[in-house]
């Protein structure tokens, strides 16, 4: 291979001061590996929490919302909207049940982006066992469809979710409820709805999520059972849960479904605003840490080059005397910076990956979270290399320019 003479000189200078070169490269290595590690940790946990929220939350949730009273009908009738018929409009309660849920579900199912639709009936209830009462929410579901949509099985700690299918008055309760009422699988529990109805149910399973509030209040039962509890017929549905192909498209699809159905369609981003805000704050913190590390690495390179130039000023003068132009000298020193960057970058990628892998094997076993969620995401590695190269070039540029400006005579004359 034929190296250009500038490259040859750059490499000779680097190998003539191996220790300093290694230290500078280590700075870059540290910056790049931390970049990769931090990004992997952040994306890993963000993805985990997002995924976790999809265990109990659909991409889009359709329900009936109370509306503000308006006078559109009256205005139409009077053919005059200038008259203020209502001065202080109040919220008008809407029936919690959706009108024609079967029709709505049929329509939603035909959307090409939708992958799963399931109806639910939610009811506020009191859980009764012995003399103790506990309030909470029972969700009436079609367990087969529900299971396709949410990873409920993963949260089960006792009993089996599938038993809901076999036992029509079966119920799966949160671990908090089970503990507070001292209930086990196979025990009987009575549910009392706010509207007056009661149902006696048999516990077929107990689940535990990472969210305590859910564990303390929520239970799942067959949809028919909850309809009966509320004294409603089989077409009574309060909520429709929708999952789509790409959950990042949820806000757009939700908008479309809201127009089609005429009901409130809430996407997971809206429902999860605090989660998203937390992601953003963490991103800012981590990016500043990475920025500082890369800055320090940049200073390392800047430093070694400045020192080299200070020590080699006579040689720079000779190079210029024997015909090296300013740009050639710039290239010699900039190349040194780039090689330091490349060395640090290659090792940094390895160390970053190794660190990420090692941490992903650390067992933590908190709830359903067995290992630290780390992501192995190729763009992080590409970004790290790009940032590394940018840092080295920025750090090398100024010393290299200084070197190119050396006046040969004033040095050689002494």
């Amino acid at each position: 291979m034929k190296l250009s003479v500038n490259t040859e000189i750059a490499l000779t200078y680097l190998s003539a001061r191996k220790k300093q070169t290694a230290v500078a490269a280590m700075g870059v290595m540290f910056g790049i590996s931390m970049f990769i590690f931090m990004q992997s940790l952040m994306k890993g946990t963000n993805d985990y929490f997002e995924q976790q929220s999809f265990n109990t939350m659909p991409h889009i949730h359709i329900y009936s919302e109370n509306k503000l009273a308006n006078t559109h009908l009256m205005d139409n009738y009077l053919k005059d909207s200038s008259l203020k018929l209502l001065v202080n409009p109040k919220m008008v309660p809407q029936p919690t049940g959706l009108i024609n849920p079967v029709g709505i579900i049929e329509v939603i199912k035909h959307d090409s982006e939708v992958v799963a639709v399931t109806p639910q009936v939610t009811a506020n209830v009191f859980y009764n066992s012995g003399n103790i009462q506990l309030n909470g929410v029972v969700v009436g579901v079609n367990i087969i469809e529900e299971n396709k949509m949410f990873d409920l099985k993963n949260d089960m700690v006792m009993g089996s979710l599938d038993d809901l299918e076999k036992i029509s008055n079966g119920i799966v309760i949160g671990k908090g409820i089970a503990d507070k009422l001292s209930l086990h699988v196979g025990d009987i529990i009575t549910l009392a709805a706010a509207t007056g109805g009661t149902q006696t149910m048999r516990i077929v399973g107990i689940f535990s999520t990472t969210i305590m509030q859910t564990d303390n209040s929520k239970s799942y039962a067959n949809i028919a059972q909850v309809q009966t509890l509320l004294g409603k017929n089989r077409s009574y549905v309060t909520d429709i849960m929708v999952n789509i192909k790409d959950y990042n498209r949820a806000p757009a699809v939700a908008k479309k479904l809201a127009t089609i159905t005429g009901y409130k369609a809430e996407d997971w981003v809206q429902a999860n605003e605090s989660l998203k805000a937390a992601f953003k704050i963490r991103a800012v913190i981590l990016n500043s840490v990475i920025g500082v590390i890369l800055l320090v690495a940049g200073f390392g390179i800047y430093n070694i080059l400045n020192m080299t130039i200070y020590e080699k000023i006579k040689e720079i003068a000779i190079l210029k005397a024997i015909g090296f132009s300013g740009p050639s000298v710039t290239s010699i020193f900039l190349q040194q910076a780039i090689y330091i960057g490349i060395m640090g970058g290659i090792v940094g990628i390895g160390v970053g990956f190794g660190l990420t892998y090692m941490v992903s094997r650390i067992y933590i076993g908190a709830g359903s979270l067995k290992y630290l969620p780390m992501s192995f995401y190729v763009p992080h590695y590409i970004e790290a290399v790009l940032f590394g190269i940018l840092t080295t070039i920025a750090a090398g540029y100024f010393p290299a320019r200084k070197a190119s400006k050396v006046d040969p005579v004033s040095i050689i004359r002494g």
Partner: protein, 228 residues
């Protein structure tokens, strides 16, 4: 084409430290192609200063400088670097090799920069030059492992590698014994006679000066005698 390799017209140079004073005063000078010229004069009379101007390294002067009939005064620094690389070989007063490189590499570097020959050809040529001065055995040693005299001979070899039209030396034999001074002189004479290369050397060696084609005598920043 002209027969004049080097022409200086009214070169004046001031130093400002500690006070403004003229180191070169209105110097007119002509050196023909293939001529072997010596510049002599007392220490401090401005010989080195003049040589730096003639070599295009120093651009801070008044007057005009022509190399092979081409005006070089006012050219950009990059153009001047290219001229030095291809047409001028310079031997400094204090040898000045690059200490991190082998002697061979030191000799090769100007030719690698010029890029006219392949690295293989350049290496062969560099060996040949080192052999001429009897330092081929040191070829692979680091430059800073050599004695002063050996380093100076390597530096002369480096000045010759690109077959420059003009070779300038600031006391190029200052560090050499009489035997090696003889070798260098004979070689310089051969370069001027056989290859038509122009030589301008500052020297304190009277014998060396007398045997060259012409002696230019300097005193106090002026040319006292052009020797013809």
């Amino acid at each position: 084409m002209t027969d004049i390799a080097l022409k200086a017209k009214g070169i004046t140079k001031y130093f400002y430290d500690p006070v403004k004073f003229p180191a070169l005063k209105n110097i007119d000078l002509e050196v023909n192609k293939g001529e072997f010229v010596s510049i002599v004069g007392k220490s401090g009379c401005g010989k080195s200063t003049l040589l730096y101007v003639l070599s295009t390294m120093d651009t801070d002067y008044e007057g005009e400088l022509l190399i092979n009939g081409t005006m070089v005064t006012g050219k950009s620094l990059n153009d001047l670097a290219a001229i030095r690389n291809g047409s001028i070989g310079f031997v400094f007063q204090f040898h000045y090799l690059l200490p991190d490189f082998s002697c061979l590499k030191n000799v090769m570097i100007p030719a690698l920069r010029l890029g006219k020959l392949s690295p293989k050809e350049i290496e062969a040529k560099a060996y040949e030059k080192l052999k001429m001065f009897g330092v081929e055995e040191q070829a692979l040693k680091k430059a800073n492992k050599l004695s002063g005299g050996q380093q100076q001979r390597v530096a002369i070899a480096r000045a010759l590698i690109n077959d420059p039209a003009i070779i300038m030396g600031d006391e190029p034999t200052g560090n050499l014994d009489s035997k090696n001074t003889g070798v260098v002189f004979d070689l310089f004479q051969q370069l001027s006679k056989e290859f038509g290369q122009t030589l301008v050397t500052v020297t304190h060696d009277e014998d060396f000066a007398k045997r060259s084609d012409r002696i230019i005598v300097m005193a106090d920043g002026e040319v006292q005698s052009h020797g013809r």
